[in-house]
Point group: C2
Chain length 367, copies 2
């Protein structure tokens, strides 16, 4: 096998494929990127058995062929090359020779026979959105998936299609994050649970541009994402997701609107008094058109008042400041509206169009 | 005690003082910054018993006084404040109240009675250089001090004054880094060993500007650095430094001049094949006007040829690529000149004016 490619093109391709290389594995072949040279391109494939990525790089192929190469070593070599044309060769023993400028590298490769290719995806549906949209909805919800694996379903995000609405949900038992986007067409109703890690990796590959598209393919046990030159296939998480609509329906007693940046800065300051393992809440005290925020812990105390526009009853309610902070950071509106029922019931932060809904459970406290 | 100060001035001052707060200590008082309000400023002092920093911040002092405050908590609070005027108050029980905008913080302070002030420095000599010079000579040598404490002297840098020459030396048993600057005046000969940590912290406080000055005070057991508003005092390391001149004197058999960036990139690529604990050398093979560089390890192999201007004998010599890389990175000249004696003797990289000298020991190898 022999091909030539641009260093920068190759670097970009390796940077994408390496996201599917697991950081810890006992299976040596999973630490590899498979390189296939054919036609006028090379295909780089990596697969951690849960999620796989295939990406194409323009190349001058002199001798077509296939070889598997240690992903980290290959990536480091490419990164350190001068910005010139790279010549890549491998022989029948899978010895690899990489030349660029005056530099020559030789490393060992593998046949790739043991390599697991991406599973074929028999798509039942394809939904297309902009890369901006998919990247945003992931980034604005992913922090709410559960960090530990006790409940596998919570480590993923619900991707739900209902008519022309695409809804993404993440929850961890203390909070829920929901983003809702309108699609250009109407689709069959569909619900799948996508691993959080898959989405995090995908969000880093997406450009975030309005004009760039991403096709999302839904299959029975898999989801696939396709952007120009790159395809990512991931297993879905088995199981039934929570009934979200039940959790977010219902009335409110108090509604407040407040400047998001001011509230965010204040809640951020409150996090100074929270230490790992101790659950001191920030207390929101609503009276008239003012919200008094305070926190007290063995480390010290903080309090601050913010002007708010309030409808409904006065109320005193406590929250974990870190959960409140995450939600406020995920919103970009100038003002946010918070809906409260009582000090034991979750609060909702949502906009009128319900393009976002953040639910945060309150924390009990004694004054 | 009560004062007001700008958030940004306060942040800058705390950012400087906190460098003398140890990250691990059993003495709670060392985790504090001492705040003294008097006249039209506050003085922030921190001291880890080896090195102390005192820095002044312009303030409106209403009630003069002194209080010690946990450095990290104080720094975090100031950082998260809005960019406005900060009011700081402490009462007779050393309770501290910090107000800024609508935010109010209360934290516990300490009397500061146990606090160790900076030791008085009876300067025997004061040498003044630009902050640019001091910052540069530290940054260009500090990587060569020994990381482990087996030989205390090696963890520091030699600061040597000889007439109008200021020389800074660092070595770790495998290499030596030397920088030499001409002073504007002539001083008495002097040699002190300054702790590497002190110098690293000082280099981060220095502006690096040609027009900003730093005064270096030499005393019996201490060295002090003074820049506008800030004074740093450090203990010196006891002991006799190595006889450097003996090590760097002597003739050479081969002299090569090579483009620094090309050599650096090549040596950097060679580091890919070095793993923790294994000492594979990069081999420099000099023949005619070409230098062939190669490395071979269980991870793979690399080789490359560079054009050089050579005087003297052909030679084959091996180096630890990381040590060679550090030296090449610390130089900014377009070309470097390397002096070689034989494959068992150290190589020197130095300029004609000897403003820098880097010595790297070779590594034995079998071909």
């Amino acid at each position: 096998m022999k091909f030539t490619a641009n260093k920068s093109d190759l670097m970009a391709g390796v940077g994408i494929a390496i996201r599917a290389v697991p950081s810890h594995t006992t299976m040596k072949i999973l630490e590899c990127i498979l390189i296939e040279a054919k036609g006028s391109e090379i295909i780089l494939t990596a697969n951690d058995m849960e999620m796989g990525i295939e990406t194409r790089v323009k190349a001058g192929v002199e001798v077509p062929g296939t070889v598997a190469v240690d992903a980290r070593m290959f990536s480091e070599i490419i990164r350190k090359l001068p910005d010139e044309i790279v010549t890549f060769m491998s022989d029948s023993d899978y010895h690899i020779l990489i030349k660029c400028g005056k530099a020559k590298f030789s490393i060992g490769g593998k046949s790739g026979e043991e390599f697991t290719y991406l599973p074929p995806v028999e798509a039942e549906e394809c939904v297309t959105v902009s890369q901006f949209t998919l990247k945003s909805v992931i980034q604005e919800t992913i922090f709410s998936v559960a960090a530990n694996e006790n409940n596998k379903v919570m480590t993923g995000e619900l991707f739900e299609i209902r008519g022309d609405i695409f809804r993404v949900v993440a929850l961890d038992g203390h909070r829920i994050a929901i983003r809702r986007v309108a699609l250009k067409e109407t689709f069959e109703n569909r619900k799948v649970i996508v691993p959080g890690k898959t989405l995090l990796d995908m969000s880093r590959i997406l450009t975030g541009e309005m004009d760039d598209l991403v096709h999302i393919y839904f299959a029975k046990n898999h989801i696939a994402f396709e952007i120009p030159g790159t395809k990512m296939v991931s297993r879905l998480i088995d199981g039934e997701y929570f009934n979200i609509d039940q959790m977010i329906s219902g009335d409110y007693e108090t509604k407040i609107t407040v400047n998001r940046t001011l509230l965010l800065s204040c809640v951020d300051r409150a996090t100074l008094f929270v230490r790992e393992g101790d659950k001191k809440p920030i207390i929101f005290e609503l009276a008239d058109q003012e919200m008094h925020l305070s926190i007290e812990s063995p480390l010290g105390a903080m309090d601050e008042s913010l002007d708010v526009a309030k409808e409904g009853k006065d109320m005193v309610i406590g929250f974990n400041p870190r959960l409140m902070l995450d939600a406020l950071k995920a919103i970009s509106d100038e003002n946010v509206t918070i809906y409260l029922v009582n000090p034991k019931a979750p609060c909702f932060i949502k906009d009128d169009e319900m393009s976002y809904t953040y639910l945060v459970l309150p924390v009990n406290f004694i004054r």
